[in-house]
């Protein structure tokens, strides 16, 4: 790790995270995230050979539900918080991706 964080790194991460940042924000984050990443480097002191990662603090396995239909929301409720709909579909600006 330890590689210092550049403005370009921060901008690239912002693209991945779909966050529009102002140039000032990029500056501030470059410095703040750089400091934090420098700090977390202390983890390198710890020998974690053969240590399994712990993703869940209380280990549980095999939690299932039965395949039984429960009521869905009425469409009106499903769409009720959406910024733009026609009462049937969610509307989003066109996706410029395909040819």
């Amino acid at each position: 790790m330890t590689a210092s964080l550049s403005r370009e790194d921060v901008s690239a991460v912002a693209v991945l995270a779909r966050l529009q940042l102002s140039p000032e924000e990029v500056d501030v984050f470059t410095s703040q995230l750089g400091q934090i990443l420098e700090y977390v480097d202390i983890l390198n002191e710890v020998d974690t050979t053969d240590i399994e990662p712990l993703a869940h603090p209380i280990p549980v396995t095999n939690v299932f539900r039965d395949d039984i239909v429960t009521p869905s929301l009425p469409r009106e409720a499903a769409l009720s918080n959406a910024p733009n709909t026609d009462g049937k579909y969610f509307f989003v600006p066109q996706i410029l991706e395909e040819q």
């Binding site: 912002a14 202390i42 603090p57 918080n81 996706i95």
Partner: protein, 489 residues
């Protein structure tokens, strides 16, 4: 003693005897909110009509001799990160300014089933990210003990609402100390349950493997009463554990014979405020006097909790908060004509600084080439942290420590220095990483008259022991009876 001054136990007794009614108690709380909350800013939303209607219904039920729940008629405030139908759930974010969830959280359902009266939604750091409540998109919450100071965070609104006697009970959520630290700053009792003890269904996720909902009250018994309602299995949360819920309230007054309290000597070294140091040492003396033994223990990896937490939590958060994109709900930047700019602008405008910072950090830690070095490494050290606790709990029943290195800091004091702010979470993060329960109880006042909290931690699912140990201290001291004096008192 006024209705807003009374403890949960007293209020329940008065309600039961008919000495007062839920309507009276609710009206008193609403009046108190009216008079004090312009200063404190604990609430984001007060459901005056809904609360009074519900109070009337509960009173009616009681009058008709119908079966009523264990919180019958008690006003409760809910952190605005827990979904409630009929009220907004904003997470103190612009992103969810207009969001009305079409469903109730598991915790909300339990409150309603217990016949509690939900009076409103409390302020927090946006999406529960922060330790000061300054990251709310709407307004800061001020510490009732000193309005220039932070109530702590992220459940600062819920802690302040209880401390300012606007409600006898409230619920918060704790991902890295977000119940315990505000409880300590505001001089109330707050408990973070074992991971899986309370359903997370309907708790808007910050960091899913760390988040837990928990209770606030002015005393341990109040917290025990509310925990008993909140705890229990919910099959809608795969990580919720199907284990019996003890009668916390019935057993809370039973002292623990031969209580063994673990203490980490390093916790009292550099960086700890002398007043806090003194208060915690005094607290240990109180325990000794009550027959407990104090045992020095080691938590060798506790110095890594901040680093581990600030990799694990932001990584999970970066995933959890990806859904706020202006498509299906929430804020949409209207100017963007195409999808991707719409996403980025909505998120850029809808989120505040701390949320963006953590999303950036988490996105980076999970990105190609860094995953192993950051996220995976953090999860491995997390296991070592958990193992430290397991080892320590072989010899002790609870672990005592400060909740925070200082009493409540000034608003604005740390806001521009995120790393400094993160480091102040050093005592609370371990419990979340290890999934164990923890409680903060009032244990003194600083020279400036600010509350100081004592933290106790216990083994997973030993909330009963935790509450009894806390109550032992409480019954031997009067710190929990101290109240903030507000301008309009």
């Amino acid at each position: 003693m006024s209705l807003t001054d009374a403890t949960v136990t007293t209020l329940l007794a008065k309600l039961q005897s008919g000495e007062t009614s839920s309507t009276e108690v609710t009206e008193a709380c609403l009046a108190r909110i009216d008079s004090q909350d312009t200063d404190v800013g604990a609430f984001l939303h007060v459901d005056r009509e809904g609360a009074l209607l519900r109070a009337t219904q509960v009173d009616e039920k009681r009058k008709n001799g119908e079966p009523i729940g264990p919180l019958a008629g008690l006003p409760v405030a809910v952190k605005d990160v827990v979904c409630t139908t009929g009220m907004p759930t904003t997470c103190a974010s612009r992103m969810l300014e207009t969001f009305q969830p079409p469903y109730d959280a598991g915790a909300t359902e339990r409150l309603l089933a217990a016949d509690a009266v939900i009076v409103g939604k409390t302020n927090l750091d946006e999406f529960a990210m922060g330790s000061s409540n300054e990251n709310s998109a709407y307004h800061v919450t001020r510490n009732p003990w000193d309005l220039t100071r932070s109530p702590g965070g992220s459940s600062g609104g819920s802690a302040a609402a209880v401390a300012a006697q606007m409600v006898p009970l409230s619920i918060g959520s704790d991902t890295g100390g977000s119940i315990r630290q505000p409880a300590a700053f505001c001089g109330v009792v707050g408990l973070k349950p074992t991971y899986g003890r309370v359903s997370r269904y309907g708790l808007v996720a910050y960091a899913s493997s760390l988040d837990q909902i928990g209770p606030f009250a002015t005393d341990v018994t109040g917290v025990a009463t509310l925990l008993e309602v909140l705890a229990g299995y919910d099959q809608r949360d795969s990580t919720c554990i199907d284990a019996d819920v003890p009668k916390y309230r019935e057993t809370v007054d039973k002292p623990i014979d031969g209580l063994r309290i673990g203490v980490v000597p390093e916790h009292f070294e550099e960086g700890l405020h002398p007043d806090v140091n003194k208060a915690i040492r005094n607290a240990l003396d109180v325990y000794k006097a009550a027959g407990a033994s104090i045992v020095d223990i080691e938590l060798p990896h506790s110095k890594y909790v901040v680093a581990v937490y600030y990799l694990v939590a932001p990584s999970e958060a970066s995933g959890n908060l990806a859904r706020y994109d202006g498509v299906h709900y929430g804020y949409r930047a209207e100017e963007a004509q195409n999808l991707i700019p719409m996403y980025s602008a909505s998120r850029g405008q809808g989120f505040g600084d701390e949320v963006k910072r953590r999303i950036m950090l988490g996105t980076y830690a999970l990105s190609s080439g860094y995953y192993d070095a950051y996220y995976l490494k953090a999860l491995k050290v997390r296991r070592l942290i958990r193992q430290d606790f397991d080892t320590a709990f072989a010899d002790v029943d609870v672990i005592a420590s400060p909740v925070a290195p200082t009493p409540a800091f000034k608003l604005g004091e740390l806001i521009d220095n995120p790393l400094e702010m993160y480091l102040s979470d050093i005592y609370t993060l371990g419990a979340n990483l290890a999934g164990i329960p923890g409680i903060s109880i009032p244990a003194g006042l600083s020279d400036d008259g600010l509350p100081i909290g004592l933290q106790l931690l216990a083994r997973p699912f030993e909330e009963e022991r935790l509450l009894r140990a806390a109550r032992m201290f409480e019954s031997a001291t009067d710190w929990h009876t101290k109240r903030a004096v507000l301008n309009h008192d």
